[in-house]
């Protein structure tokens, strides 16, 4: 198992795509962190030195998880797209192990990306003077920790989505569309009680939900998100294990 994981990490380290994605996550984080700095004090945006601006700058780490989700999707669907899946499964016929190794590798990369994005956001915040020390309290630390924990969990969801869908263009679009738009649509048509249990709802809960009413407690949000990810992963693993490979 550890050989498989090292193989996956080697593949990630030596191909261009993961680096492009990591760079993309950092650029996205930087753009989102600079946004409240530039807007500070205008049009209703909080001024530098307020808790609002501090949360907005640190909150820039809240979208990189989608890039890691994308990495998870691509690490699985890429095998099918390039036809390498046949050789991979001939070498390791225990397909669930392959998928688990991919998931573990994505989780590791997700953790690294989370650290890198935090560094980017903090750098922007410090340079802009938007992170005054007296404003940093336990709640803020929990908020940021929750945002960063979402990276590996979304990576796991991405691997699961890749194993479930396999067809790369759809597998790439559908999870992103779900998180960014479709879920919001669905929720508006569903009873309000559903909202805290949606993917975005539990992600916000994990992030110590500073701006969401009726969110689950932080630990519960994290547990539910982990459950969703593991459930999807199990479905994906079963689907992959019984799929015909040519």
């Amino acid at each position: 198992m550890s050989t498989l994981m090292h193989t996956e990490l080697l593949a990630l380290r030596t191909t261009r795509l993961p680096w492009v994605l990591l760079a993309g996550a950092s650029v996205l984080t930087a753009a989102l962190a600079i946004n409240p700095v530039l807007a500070a004090g205008t049009g209703g945006a909080p001024s530098i030195g307020t808790a609002g601006a501090l949360l907005a700058v640190l909150g820039a780490t809240g979208r990189g998880n989608l890039v890691i989700l994308l990495l998870g999707v691509l690490i699985v669907t890429g095998e099918f797209r390039h036809g390498t899946v046949t050789a991979t499964f001939l070498l390791t016929p225990h397909r669930v192990r392959v998928l688990s190794a991919k998931a573990a590798a994505v989780v590791v990369v997700g953790a690294i990306a989370a650290a890198a994005d935090l560094a980017v956001a903090v750098a922007v915040g410090v340079a802009a003077g938007a992170l005054p020390a007296p404003l940093l309290n336990g709640d803020v630390v929990l908020h940021v920790a929750g945002l960063l924990l979402a990276y590996p969990l979304y990576g796991l969801i991405g691997v699961a989505a890749g194993a479930l869908i396999v067809f790369q263009p759809v597998a790439v679009l559908l999870p992103l569309a779900w998180v960014l738009y479709l879920e919001d649509f669905m929720v508006r048509l569903a009873p309000y009680a559903v909202t805290p249990w949606t993917l975005n709802g539990v992600t916000a809960a994990l992030a110590n939900a500073p701006d969401l009413a009726d969110a689950l407690p932080m630990a519960a949000g994290g547990a539910v998100l982990l459950t969703y990810a593991l459930l999807l992963f199990t479905l994906g693993a079963v689907r992959l294990a019984y799929r015909d490979i040519t």
């Binding site: 753009a31 600079i34 946004n35 530039l38 807007a39 691509l74 797209r81 790369q168 263009p169 790439v172 679009l173 992103l176 569309a177 960014l180 738009y181 479709l182 649509f185 669905m186 508006r188 048509l189």
Partner: protein
């Protein structure tokens, strides 16, 4: 050339993915419309039966344009993804004609799709009692503005496919551009650019009013210019490319 266009239309008509993609567009549009309807009486929502409500509901078809654009993109990238490009270009060695036929087919199908979406949403609104059952100049003008927009988006979709070719990247680019990059730009003091970008031009062509919005004819030209700017270099690259 007409044979090529008819071939493209035949392919569109007889593959399942076309209908699945269009069904997704319809479902998204209806979901958006349902969200607008469920918001009646909420803060900032238009009143039942008002002209604004009709404009909001018909504006829900905007989300249905994304799947349609995707159709244009996949028409090109699918040839490379499924490696059918080899036989296609063997049958029609003038490669740019194949690509042009795809663009024309897209521009023909786009308006049909948007008219269908508008009709469905309008009916939905009337049945729900949120739109008055009258056909006036405003409604016709909205429809008339939507048609060139749909054609342009289909053309843009084909052009993105021609320019990028890698299917996965090509299907990601339009949503990321319109929903992420263009919406973020004003925050960086780049609002002056917005009227000249594809999203801003689309809004202007649809009759939306915002600071610096171009007149409709100029917006149309801007959209066509983007499609051409992506299509021509991409088509040249495809024309010279080694196909295995």
């Amino acid at each position: 050339m007409t044979t090529l266009i008819r071939t493209e239309l035949l392919r569109l008509r007889t593959t399942r993915s076309t209908w699945v993609v269009l069904a997704v567009g319809l479902a998204l549009t209806l979901a958006w419309a349902a969200a607008i309807l469920s918001n009646i009486g909420g803060i900032g929502a238009a009143a039942r039966g008002s002209v604004q409500m009709r404009a909001d509901l018909l504006g829900a078809t905007g989300i249905g344009l994304f799947p349609m654009m995707l159709l244009g993109t996949v028409a090109v990238t699918g040839e490379f993804h499924h490696r059918t490009a080899t036989s296609t270009f063997l049958v029609t060695p003038r490669r740019w004609r194949v690509l042009a036929a795809k663009a024309v087919a897209g521009a023909l199908v786009g308006p049909l799709v948007i008219i269908l979406l508008l009709a469905v949403v309008w009916t939905f609104g009337v049945v729900a009692g949120a739109i008055q059952l009258t056909v006036d100049a405003g409604l016709l003008a909205m429809t008339a503005r939507s048609i060139p927009v749909a054609a342009c988006w289909a053309l843009l979709g084909v052009a993105v496919g021609v320019a990028i070719r890698n299917q996965t990247v090509a299907v990601l680019v339009p949503p990321v551009w319109f929903l992420l990059i263009e919406t973020l730009l004003p925050a960086y003091g780049l609002s002056a650019l917005v009227p000249w970008l594809p999203g801003g031009a689309t809004t202007a062509l649809l009759g939306g009013r915002f600071a610096g919005a171009l007149p409709a004819w100029a917006a149309l030209l801007v959209l066509l210019a983007y499609a051409l700017a992506l299509f021509v270099p991409g088509a040249r690259a495809i024309a010279r490319r080694d196909i295995t």
